[in-house]
């Protein structure tokens, strides 16, 4: 699960990470008030930041034509104007796709003078199953570019999960980032706090880009998180009700939300051939085989190992709510699951939804003959595929011709 920047900063702050003062609002009037407060406390500049679950906001464009989802402002009036231009409008960035995301919340924060931009992240290293701290002197830019072109500028420090982060590890990272004096001490504390945020929140990734050296109120150098991105491990949300409450349904596809209500794993894609499959691996492979024969998959859909009649019916309704869908490919390998139960579910779902689109079914496994008979005797036009390849060819033909 992803959370917004303002939520990520709240979480980081809770664990002792320094962030520039700021608050979230959903109105231009509110933005003005927050900015007035920041300026009264001595902020030289305020920044208005669109809160959406996608990167590239600064360089994004609103569908209204307004340029930039992140704006620096010198006055509260300016903050008000910028907030008005952003709120209720759709922001398109390189990560949102052409449909963009509706901006309904803004983070209004102090924009400190930045002496240097750095990069810091904590994530899982899948190669050894250990937490990894990744840092770079190249902050404020795309870290994938840094990794591709100047990998020597990325430092990595693994943490032993049995011991937890030790201060010397944070000192190593701080030194590698070139931090000195007050910035060094401040940076060491921050690195430990960012790691603790990752561990204690069951995060998948905490990314701070940029991490900035600024001058603190007492004139000393300070290291703070000027931007922050956190994604959480879905499997661990059950033990973090406070983090669960940060879920923003407006950022998720309505069809995907509907699917999750029926414990179906559905991801919408852009193609025209819908698929309904049991098992995640087979579901991916089904998308692949559709493309292999010249079609485009409309979705990923895993109905799970023990799909019920209700789930099959819900799955059909979700698939059919996608207007791009021109044909349906059901690919079931019933290992333990009874193919006839699935076949009965399909027949009922087709009758219930009054399906008019071509339906191609490939059934294999337990009680397959009874399943195939149920489909044949249903009086419905269901095209049967003998093998996965055969069925994939038929479904692509039904769309492409």
């Amino acid at each position: 699960m992803n959370i917004h920047e303002y939520q990520a900063k709240e979480l980081l702050k809770r664990h002792g990470v320094g962030v520039p003062p700021g608050e979230v609002t959903d109105s231009a009037e509110g933005a003005r008030k927050l900015a007035e407060g920041l300026f009264a406390k001595g902020a030289g500049l305020a920044v208005v930041k669109s809160q959406i679950h996608a990167g590239g906001r600064g360089k994004g464009t609103f569908k209204s034509g307004f340029q930039g989802g992140v704006k620096l402002c010198k006055t509260a009036d300016d903050v008000y104007e910028k907030a008005k231009a952003m709120l209720g409008n759709v922001l398109v960035t390189k990560q949102t796709g052409p449909e963009g995301r509706l901006v309904s919340k803004l983070l209004i924060a102090a924009a400190p003078d930045i002496k240097k931009e750095l990069y810091l992240a904590v994530l899982l290293d899948r190669n050894n199953g250990r937490p990894l701290i990744m840092a770079s002197t190249e902050g404020g830019v795309d870290i994938e570019e840094v990794a591709a072109h100047t990998p020597e500028k990325i430092v990595k420090e693994h943490v032993d999960p049995a011991v937890g982060i030790m201060p010397y590890q944070a000192r190593k990272v701080a030194a590698a980032l070139g931090l000195k004096g007050d910035a060094f001490s401040s940076g060491v504390k921050l690195i430990i706090a960012v790691y603790e945020t990752w561990w204690k929140s069951d995060a998948a990734m905490v990314e701070i880009n940029p991490l900035c050296i600024i001058t603190g109120p007492d004139g000393k150098d300070l290291v703070v998180a000027v931007d922050a991105k956190i994604s959480l491990d879905d499997n661990a949300l059950y033990r973090h009700p406070d983090l669960q409450a940060m879920r923003d349904l407006a950022e998720e596809s309505p069809l995907e939300i509907e699917a999750s209500r029926f414990s179906l794993n559905y991801i919408k894609l852009d193609g025209s051939i819908a698929c309904l499959v049991n098992g995640a691996g087979l579901a991916m492979a089904t998308m692949d085989i559709i493309q292999h024969y010249g079609g485009e998959p409309a979705n990923f859909l895993d109905v799970g190992g023990g799909a019920s009649k209700d789930q099959v019916s819900a799955a059909f309704k979700i698939i059919l709510s996608d207007p791009n869908v021109k044909a349906i490919f059901v690919n079931i390998f019933g290992g333990i699951m009874d193919c006839n139960v699935i076949a009965t579910g399909i027949v009922e779902a087709v009758k219930e939804t009054g399906l008019k689109l071509p339906l191609i079914v490939r059934l294999e496994g337990n009680n397959v003959l009874a399943g195939k008979a149920t489909l044949q005797n249903s009086g419905l036009t269901i095209i049967s595929g003998d093998t996965m390849s055969d069925a994939a060819k038929k479904v692509v033909k039904s769309v492409v011709g």
Partner: protein, 297 residues
């Protein structure tokens, strides 16, 4: 003679009284597998189906029955504890079927297992099958949730991150009259106990395994690692398939570990590694068995 388990392996089931564990224990028993004990804390002294004794702890179950392998069906919040209990009891093998274990729990489990003799398969996996000699491979060792009847005793090893794709490969082999030595589902999570490479090494040194099907998917680099080892050390024909070529980057495709992030873990990179290692690449999941059989002719 197969890898990891044989038809004689004595199995205990952790979480035997839960609905999922109970159902699959029944299926394993009717497949002819040696399920000798169950463990459900608080239900010690009872019997599963009137015949399999239930114990409160794994240690007790091992002491009384001599079980050497465990099938773990406990719910996600308790799974890490269950795995480490199996490790503490010094079992040869712990097979964790549970899906949805928090990643940090597995990070701690993996660390705690360092230097221990127990091998963990999974989590979030279909388990392991060494087919038997009987009708529909009856009498084999089935630990987990795979359909036993689709197997056939023989000489092909199958290793996969995905359950249903394993069944596809096995079904394709059996339909062509070709049997399997052992089939191992290593699971779809980002942190697991046994990797593709671990299983590949076991198959390469098993005299009864003559060819291997390795099924991977997007995310991580375990397939590349295995391919590189095969390139240098491989002695048997290997065919492979990688699922997820059409998956959009940044999205988890059902399995927690199936995600392309930061340009890493793509199907294209894995397929390239397979080609470089001389692994026969099935262009569609329909051709997994045929690709291997062509290499073996």
């Amino acid at each position: 003679m197969a890898i990891l388990v044989t038809p004689q392996t004595k199995i205990l089931v952790q979480g035997i009284t839960g609905s999922f564990g109970a159902r699959h224990t029944q299926l394993s028993l009717s497949y002819g597998s040696q399920v000798v004990a169950g463990v459900t804390p608080g239900k010690g002294g009872q019997f599963f189906e009137g015949k399999v004794p239930i114990f409160d702890t794994v240690a007790e179950a091992v002491k009384v029955t001599g079980a050497t392998a465990s099938a773990i069906f406990v719910p996600p919040p308790f799974a890490a504890d269950a795995i480490l209990e199996a490790v503490d009891a010094d079992l040869d093998l712990a097979v964790c079927i549970t899906e949805g274990i928090p990643v940090i729990d597995m990070v701690r489990v993996k660390r705690a297992m360092e230097g221990k003799r127990t091998r963990l398969i999974g989590p979030n996996c279909p388990g392991i099958v060494t087919p038997g000699e009987g009708k529909d491979s009856h009498g084999g060792c089935r630990i987990g949730i795979a359909p036993g009847y689709i197997h056939k005793r023989g000489n092909i090893g199958v290793v996969s991150r995905s359950g249903t794709l394993t069944y596809e490969a096995v079904f394709q082999l059996t339909s062509r009259g070709v049997g399997q030595s052992t089939c191992v589902g290593i699971g779809g999570d980002p942190v697991n106990g046994t990797s593709h490479l671990d299983v590949i090494k076991l198959f390469m040194s098993d005299p009864d395994t003559h060819g291997i099907i390795m099924i991977g998917e997007i995310g991580g680099s375990a397939e590349e690692e295995a391919a590189e080892w095969i390139r240098v050390n491989g002695t048997k024909p290997v065919a492979g398939f990688i699922a997820g070529a059409t998956a959009p980057p940044g999205r988890r495709m059902g399995h927690a570990g199936a995600i392309v992030s930061g340009g890493k873990g793509t199907a294209a990179a894995k397929i390239e590694a397979f080609h470089a290692a001389g692994i026969g690449v099935a262009t569609t999941p329909s051709e997994m068995a045929d690709t291997l059989l062509k290499l073996m002719r």
